[in-house]
Amino acid sequence: MKTTSRKTDVYWNPITETLPLEQLQELQVKKFKKILKWAYDKSKFHRKLYHDAGLKPGDVKTLEDIAKVPKVEKAMMRDIQRKDPFPYGDALCVPLEEVTEFRQTSGTTGLPVYQPDTWQDWEWWSECWAYILYSQGYRKTDRVFLPFGYNIFVAFWAGHYAAEKIGCEVIPGGVLDTEARILKIQELRATAMMATPTYVLGMADTARKKLGIDPPRDLTIRKITCAGEPGASIPATKKRMEEAWGAKVYDHVGATEIGAWGYECEEQPGGLHINEAMFLVQLVDIETGEMIEEPGRKGKIIITALDRIAQPCICFDSKDVAEWATDPCPCGRTFRIIRGGVVGRADDITKIKGVLIAPSAIEEVVRSIKGLSSEFEVVVTKKGDLDDITLKIELLSEEEKNREPILTQLKDQLRLKTNLGYNIEVHPFNSLPRYEVKAKRFKDLRKHG
């Protein structure tokens, strides 16, 4: 047997990345059985979870059998860490002294979850990221700038180590402020960077307005890898970033408790590949839990990290919503694609005035309109028994003369794309909050009265 590929230099591992789906699934079942047994044998939490469900590791023999495995939710992880051993709790599968890395979730949806990793897990993190960065064209010749805080969140830490693994030269832009980071990028002629979409847009804004630097002309960044928010998979936001930097912008998706599981390749196929050699992703109907195999139907992602050992992630209910793409990617990878990336979160997709809406739909509209800044905020409240939705936007100072046509275009597009009418509040440029990490632009105040 020979492994084939059209261009051998586009794959981090041409063997796994071009493996036919049937063989990939065989690999996934083999690895799933192994990690399930590992967790059953080593963690009190998992043993009890499976025991209560009447499941033994030997009961899982096929891909279909995996549907029987109980799902783990984030709230359960929060409960686990109240138990021993401190501070992780009884889902830990290795002796505490083998843990070498601590990270925690951002706490966007509640109390932060602590994540232990062994050195092997940490190698695995950077291996997952190496698949991502290599597919996006990172090579030994790249000088990569990381403008993030190197703090307690996993964020771009593994991206740093993966870039090193590939052989890139890595510049940690840690405690520098935005202006200093831009000047360092210019001084060192960095060719690539990684940041959240919000920060990518904010940096370009600062470069132009405060430093008189036009990123496409004056800087040498030609590829940007995004994480933390879905923006790089939202066409209007991606376009804004690519124009602001004169660079290709790629998305990636991952989470502290899961790993870096999906990525956009150089072909930018309008979706994200799932690293199916290292993760098992299953889409299930949000309401019924029924497994979704066909393209074009949205479902919730249930995910398993197949090689992570310290605190295994098995059938984790990520709440991320996605749908399978129809066509294979021209890059030749057999890893399946989720169309448009993660299109929302099951707990974010909400009914307003009887209409189901994902916040990303509003972002797509706002950022597709020239004359508006990239910042916005959506506030949903109750007025009596009725839902009320306010959209706060910023008009660029130089576009004041076009205020009326811009607002008309905005209202029309919102009605067309989201089927809702909004109270529009126009705020002065630079007055809405700016975010460096995960932005909170959607505020549903109905539940809080």
Partner: protein, 91 residues
Amino acid sequence: MKFNAFALLFGIYLGFGIWELEFHFYDYCERYTMTLREIKKLDTRIKTIKKAAQELKALSGRIPAVDRNAVRILASVKMLEINISDVIDLL
């Protein structure tokens, strides 16, 4: 004179042959990453390194510099297993 013409033709023939051989070899490398035999060789080497690193760890005794570096080697070996050894029986 006749001999020289023959030598010239033979030289052209030989040159073309080498070019064609190189062309095919390049084409082969471009289309096929590796043969299964070559991948199996990788797997054998991975197993050898793993065994050596495990032995090194067992022998490290009271030298943390050996023990901890052996742990790191084993973590890297695990990544090689994920990329090669875990897949080999499916090829």
